[in-house]
């Protein structure tokens, strides 16, 4: 399956879900946009109030429903709008990343990054980098629900 989908002829493009905190990373994405920086359209941004809002079930649900990679982006440690939200998410998401890898997910498919509101360039770079890594890995089938839009898998984001 993955060989066929990796074939450029089928037009496979990865789907990446980026959960961005409202106060820093989402604003960073905005800055990237208003500064006319390019980053791949493969990334679908979901705005959350804080990286500490991320429930691991969000991440699993994204993989169930066809994400090839998931990124959580939040304020740099010390800069959290809610003072400590990202300190907590650093611990939680570190543990969750490790357990995801333990059940066989490739490390590149789930990432966490700290991106501030002024780092539009970093936002664009990170999205570019993640997309590149996922493209190299190919489509994700792990933890994906076999019933989820299987027919359109190859047409994804064509």
């Amino acid at each position: 399956m993955s060989a066929a989908l990796n074939d450029p002829a089928t037009g496979w493009e990865p789907l990446i879900v980026a959960f961005c905190c409202n106060w820093c990373s989402y604003a960073g994405g905005d800055l990237a946009g208003t500064s006319r920086m390019n980053y791949p359209a493969n990334v679908k941004v979901i705005r959350v109030p804080c990286s500490g809002r991320i429930n691991p079930m969000f991440i699993l649900r994204a993989f169930q429903r066809g994400a090839d990679g998931v990124l959580v982006a939040g304020c740099h440690p010390g800069d959290c709008h809610y003072s400590t939200g990202n300190y907590h998410s650093r611990r939680r998401l570190s543990a969750f990343k490790r357990i995801l890898e333990f059940v066989g997910l490739e490390p590149e498919r789930f990432e966490v990054r700290w991106i501030s509101a002024s780092e539009g360039d970093k936002f664009a770079e990170e999205m570019e980098a993640m997309t590149g890594k996922i493209k190299a890995l190919g489509p994700n089938r792990k933890m994906r629900d076999a019933r989820w839009k299987s027919k359109s898998l190859s047409k994804q984001l064509k």
Binding site: R65, R147, W148, K149, K151, S152
Partner: protein, 336 residues
């Protein structure tokens, strides 16, 4: 006349039968034995008396799709999910077959019968395996089941030193053995193939118990019996006579499916209603329901207790709250 299948030819028979359609047989996986589809490399275990989970899922799968659809714009395409594949259920023990007979009544003795169940049942050829040595948990004798005889089977099989003795019991069974004919020996030694299998009875006496229970819905016995129950669904899922299911949908804008899947009366959400009311609000009502269903409601409708003494709840209940304990607490014991 019985025919012998030598031990060394078993894998050949399985390969041959699996070629015809899905072949389910007892497969060992680590510490558990489950009826699974045969494929090259699986570890078949015919010595195990009772599989960890009953083979009921051959006929009533844990999950079964009712309908599948795909949509494009306003067009909806329904996909046919019924299958005509002939299924072979291999090495089912007499107690488990008796349990299938009990589930049959629920799914088939009504109008209309359950179509998916009916189809699977009709498409399946059952090879029963007589028990040679009971498991310490077996108590089928309490319910009058002969562990060496399965009247409902298409083929009856007996384990011997040399291999398996096979005997057809129905026309379906005859067809199956004809297919297997090249692998079978003509001469078969039939001495001592059935042994006197003694299961224990825990001193149980279940005759008359169902009538006695009708008036005991509010009996104080229920106030104590449920206490150790953890509220998990093990007993219902390993049980060969439990058949409850739920229906769920899975869908998205491009299509979806409706399927049924096992459910358990031991779960609080089993009876949870949309408005929030739950007629079985605690473990007490749920434990009572399960045992009353086995010992009173089912016999009221179909004439016999819905337990075959397979002993799976005795083995798997984490706190040993099993049907023997329930029957004893309700007074189903021999006097003296």
């Amino acid at each position: 006349m019985k025919k012998l299948l030598l031990k060394e030819k078993w894998p050949e028979l399985w390969a041959l039968l699996a070629h015809e359609g899905p072949l389910y047989l007892p497969v060992e996986e680590g510490s558990v034995v489950l009826y699974q589809l045969w494929q090259e490399g699986v570890k078949v275990n015919l010595e195990a008396v009772n599989s960890t989970v009953s083979p009921k899922d051959i006929f009533l799968p844990r999950e079964e799709t009712y309908l599948r659809y795909s949509c494009q714009g306003e067009m909806l395409d329904l996909e046919d999910v019924e299958s005509d594949e002939p299924i072979i259920a291999f090495a089912l023990h007499p107690c488990d077959l008796k349990a299938i007979e009990m589930i049959d009544r629920v799914f088939l003795n009504q109008d209309p019968p359950d179509a998916l169940y009916k189809k699977r049942r009709e498409n399946t050829t059952v090879v029963a395996l007589a028990c040679r040595q009971p498991d310490p948990y077996c108590f089928c004798g309490v319910f009058g089941i002969d562990p060496t005889d399965a009247p409902g089977a298409d083929v009856m099989a007996y384990l011997t030193e040399k291999g398996l003795l096979l005997e057809e019991q129905t026309a379906k069974g005859k067809i199956l053995l004809e297919k297997a004919a090249p692998l079978l020996e003509v001469e078969a030694d039939e001495t001592n193939i059935t042994v006197d299998v003694k299961t224990q009875d825990f001193g149980l006496q279940v005759e008359g118990l169902p009538e006695d229970l009708q008036e005991r819905f509010n009996d104080p016995v229920w106030d104590d019996l449920f206490r150790s129950c953890l509220g998990c669904g093990i007993c219902t899922y390993v049980c060969p006579t439990c058949y409850c299911f739920d229906v769920e949908d899975y869908g998205h804008e491009e299509g979806g499916e409706r399927f049924r899947c096992w459910d358990s009366c031991m779960f609080g959400h089993f009876t949870q209603m949309a408005g929030g009311h739950n007629p079985r609000p605690s473990r007490k009502e749920r434990v009572r329901q399960r045992f009353m269903h086995k010992l009173c409601y089912y016999p009221e409708t179909y004439g016999e207790i819905a337990c075959v003494g397979c002993g799976r709840c005795l083995r798997s209940c984490p706190v040993n709250l099993d049907i023997v304990q329930a029957i004893k607490a309700l007074g189903g014991e021999k006097v003296g």
